[in-house]
Assembly symmetry: C2
DNA sequence: GGCCTTCTCAACCGAATGGTTGACAAAGGC
DNA sequence: GCCTTTGTCAACCATTCGGTTGAGAAGGCC
């Protein structure tokens, strides 16, 4: 629903049928009819799915007489992978920082408790 | 809407607010109130967003008195990247095959047209 | 025990989604 | 010039989604 491309790409791929279509288009271009054949839905429904994929920039449709061959535009994937990688990396770094902090806390604890414990008991 | 995890993850990230929340959680854990503060929506709305992220496996919520700290589960990203990479790779390979076919066609054409063209004109 | 904070649950609302059917445009095949 | 194929457009329908308000559970604080 939101109109930025990243949202549209994610939303487009949130549907199993559309992901399947993308999978088949990765193998090779295909017409709407060819793409619709395997599914138990009308051609119109598939046409709608293709429109969603097109709006997301994942698919382009050319023209061949009555037919409309669909082509996968794989570059848009980069948009997603970049977004994902950013937070994957951040989360990883954060994990390492956390480990470092925990390690330091443990050191401090030892410095504090070791003498105290020995003196108190 | 579909109940497989991949769909849920993609759908969860199709919303800018939720992507933003993920971005903030990558920096560090946060409570619902803290996460809600920057947005012009009610805490309930953010709570709903967090539920969506949780159902997708992207976020886990623990308990600290009344507060419910949220934690980013970065591993789920792998699910997406794996799916994406698969078709990125396939599309690339297909491109290379296409190039090869085109190159071969050009060779065949030359073998056919070169002698004919010389004889016809 | 009362109060305040934090958060979730439930009901509701308007808009978008995924599907259908029906009509029709566009382009070959006969 | 018709008829069939291929696909889109338009209207409709049920469901989901992102948001709201209102109520209430859970757990400190005084």
């Amino acid at each position: 629903m939101p109109d930025d491309q990243l949202s549209r790409v994610f939303a487009a791929l949130a549907d199993p049928t559309r992901r399947d279509i993308v999978g088949r288009l990765a193998v090779g271009d295909a017409t709407v009819g060819q793409l619709a054949a395997p599914y138990d839905v009308t051609v119109q429904a598939v046409s709608k799915h293709l429109r969603v994929l097109e709006d997301a920039g994942l698919v382009s449709r050319t023209r061949d007489a009555q037919r409309r061959p669909c082509h996968l535009e794989a570059e848009v994937f980069d948009l997603m992978t970049k977004w994902i990688e950013r937070y994957q990396r951040q989360a990883e770094e954060r994990y390492q920082r956390l480990d470092a902090v925990l390690a330091r806390l443990q050191d401090d604890e030892q410095q504090q408790t070791d003498p105290d414990e020995g003196a108190a008991s």
